[in-house]
């Protein structure tokens, strides 16, 4: 089992799988509504400068989330050598 890291530390362009969300129930529900839920494969699209929010893609939906809030999302990164997001979860291992 690879170690988990916080979503706010994932570099732009990298994809990862959501393994745990350590937020209160309100925020968790909000995340789920926007497609950030356990087991989902997401891709970090870009990080804005000056510690601004990060842009994350989940399925067809793009979301912006503050780094402080993204810190609550624990993810397992996919292979850094894969340039594009792999098609399914097994390829990420």
């Amino acid at each position: 089992m690879t170690k988990l890291c916080s979503l706010n530390t994932v570099p732009a362009g990298r994809c990862c799988i959501i393994m745990r969300i350590d937020a209160d129930s309100d925020l968790t529900a909000r995340m789920r509504a926007l497609g950030l839920q356990l087991g989902r494969r997401i891709q970090v699209m870009r990080r804005s400068p000056f510690q601004g929010p990060i842009q994350v893609r989940s399925g067809q939906t793009d979301i912006i989330i503050r780094r402080a809030d993204a810190a609550a999302v624990q993810v397992r990164p996919c292979d850094p050598n894969i340039e594009h997001c792999p098609a399914n979860e097994s390829e990420c291992n």
Binding site: A23, D26, L27, A29, R30, M31, R32, A33, L34, G35, Q37, M45, R46, S48, P49, F50, Q51, G52, P53, Q55, S58, G59, Q60, T61, D62, I63, I64, I65, R66, A68, D69, H84, C85, A87, N88
Partner: protein, 596 residues
């Protein structure tokens, strides 16, 4: 018996556009989560029955906690309806279907409209409609609300569906299914019915984003875009305004003046120099306001505002605000009142109130009129757009200063910022036409209402007693102005201008109308008089004061209502008056000292 259908859907699904398509009413369309803040409803004829269609605020989730979601949920749980028309974005079914599964548990009849069907098809998303409809047990229609495709078929389906559900029903609240259960059902359903290409080819949105959201180019491009918008407004609007002004003047001298020549002198003065000049001068802004709102609609509907939130959040967070507050600031360029109501999407109370305190400094279209008039009158055509732009920059600077000073509790209780970045969309001509009709209607109604009252009152103050010279120190206005003189003379604002400012408190739209009455001249003549009487320092000082000095009456009323108490209203009033005076004073005295 009357029938009722509630229109339900997540934000950014094109719900409001579909509402407009179905009802033909002028619901505002915005590509920004939570823009629909009041419940819109309209009647539509389906088959042989009249049906009330209610447009509920967008909701992500039935358990949602934003103000909008609460409103929508409360409506669904308490109001009897014949059924729900659920709008889904066909390109995002993998998360939007979850809402359908939640809604199903309410036991109400439902009909699904998959919107943006064309966009989904162009992205290679294939949906097995029959299977999906069968598995959900719900009728489904494919539509494109933007282009109107599939809307007649949707009307037919709605008619047939109403025949099957002729009675009003109330939701079975509290039988909401467990979300985990929903997720399982959802995954199975998606696997069976929706085919999404695993890796999307870099779409146009991605390519645009890599430029517009570029770490270093993003912000300069943002300012360039806004500057272009204002150049377009100025470049298109100013000649139109001139033409309109000329027309009004011609009507006055050729038709109106001869027609009422037989009336007593004071009546002629009231009708021509009071009502006609006052309202006419305000009316010349109609074309420019239409162009302005069109430009804003293009920016708003394109999906760029959410990008602006992304770009500005880092800066805003240091002042206790967030990217959404910045977007509301931009929306305030149109009118501050809906922007303040839009602040409901912010959950933390401290942050919401701070956002609402800053919105009145957003340079609204009413103030834009004053500035356009003054810059055109006093500054050269080359300098005018830059003067205008500088006022927008100052509007932001005062906003940031206000937020910085008042941030207090908002700094700590940071509201999570989590929002969707919608794909870029091109606004269609029909949406823009409807938008501009709506705005001109609004403008005309205002001109017909309190602007008439305002200019009539200004005429009375500046002409009573009738034997005194108009606007002279002997008139009521003159006496009022000399009382205020100690306050305004250090700012380089003369007595006559201060009278106009007094009326601007009611609504900034009245300022130009009031000036026309005070100087007894409209349009071009008034520009000439202003250019003669004011140098650029006085004019700029007046504009600075007008920009900041007080939210208009309806903005203050909104602030009081939305913040739930008059404390914040008074704070906003005192703060803005104080900062306006200091700002104008500092500018006027420094500029005078430097140019002497």
């Amino acid at each position: 018996m009357s029938k009722r259908i509630a229109l339900v859907g997540m934000p950014n699904t094109g719900k409001s556009t579909l509402f407009n398509r179905l009802t033909g009413a002028g619901a505002k369309v915005g590509n920004w989560p939570g823009l629909t803040v009041e419940l819109l409803s309209a009647k539509l004829l389906l088959g042989d029955s009249m049906v009330e269609l209610v447009d509920l605020p967008g909701l992500h989730n039935l358990h949602g906690f934003s103000e909008d979601e609460r409103v929508a949920r409360h409506f669904i749980e308490t109001q009897p309806v014949n059924g729900l028309l659920v709008v889904l974005n066909a390109t995002q079914l993998e998360r939007q279907l979850a809402l359908v599964l939640q809604l199903k548990a309410l036991g109400l009849p439902m009909l699904l409209a998959l919107n943006m069907a064309d966009e989904a098809a162009s992205r290679g998303i294939r949906i097995q409609l029959d299977t999906l409809s069968e598995k959900l047990g719900l009728p489904i229609c494919l539509v494109s609300a933007k282009h109107g495709h599939g809307v007649p078929e949707l009307r037919q389906a709605l008619t047939a569906w109403l025949h099957r559900h002729p009675d009003l029903a109330t939701a079975q609240a509290r039988v909401l299914a467990e979300d985990d259960n929903i997720e399982h059902t959802l995954d199975t359903l998606l696997a069976q019915t929706v085919h999404v290409p695993p890796v999307l080819s870099p779409s146009h949105t991605d390519r645009l984003d890599s430029l517009l959201l570029h770490p270093w180019l993003g912000l300069p491009l943002f300012f360039l875009i806004m500057l272009t918008v204002f150049q377009v407004v100025y470049g298109l609007g100013a000649p139109l305004q001139d033409g309109f002004g000329w027309l009004l003047d011609a009507v006055k001298t050729r038709w109106l003046a001869p027609a009422i020549a037989g009336l007593p002198a004071w009546a002629i003065s009231f009708l021509l120099e009071g009502l006609y000049d006052g309202i006419g001068t305000v009316m010349t802004f109609l074309p420019i306001i239409v162009v302005f709102f069109l430009a804003m609609a293009v920016v708003e509907d394109s999906g760029y505002l959410a990008r602006a939130a992304f770009l500005m959040d880092a800066l805003m967070s240091r002042m206790g605000l967030d990217g959404r507050a910045f977007v509301l600031q931009l929306m305030g360029f149109g009118c501050n009142v809906p922007a303040m109501m839009g602040a409901r999407v912010i959950r933390s109370r401290a942050q919401r109130i701070l956002t609402m305190m800053t919105i009145p400094f957003s340079l609204c279209s009413a103030r834009l009129q004053v500035f356009l008039f003054f810059t055109t009158a006093v500054f050269s055509p080359r300098a005018a757009p830059w003067v205008l732009f500088s006022l927008y920059v100052i509007s932001f600077a005062v906003t940031f200063l206000t937020a910085w000073i008042w941030r207090g509790r908002a700094r700590h209780g940071a509201d999570p910022l989590l929002m969707e970045l919608p794909p870029y969309r091109l606004p269609t001509l029909s949406v823009l036409t409807r938008q501009s009709l709506r705005e001109s209607g609004h403008f005309l109604r205002q001109a017909g209402g309190f602007i008439i009252l305002g200019v009539a009152l200004v005429w009375f103050l500046t002409h009573f007693p009738l034997d005194a010279a108009p606007a002279s120190p002997a008139t009521l206005a003159g006496r009022l102005a000399s009382l205020m003189e100690p306050i305004f003379s250090p700012l380089g604002i003369d007595q006559l201008l201060s009278i106009a400012l007094l009326f601007g408190f009611v609504a900034k739209e009245v300022v130009i109308g009031a000036l026309a009455v005070i100087y007894g001249a409209g349009g071009d003549q008034l520009s000439g008089i202003l250019a003669q009487r004011l140098d650029w320092i006085q004019a700029y000082s007046f504009m600075l004061f007008t920009l900041v000095y007080t939210p208009c009456l309806s903005a203050l009323a909104t602030l009081r209502r939305e913040a739930g108490g008059s404390r914040y209203m008074w704070a906003s009033l005192v703060w803005s008056l104080g900062i306006a005076w200091l700002l104008s004073f500092a500018f006027y005295q420094t500029a005078r000292a430097l140019t002497q």
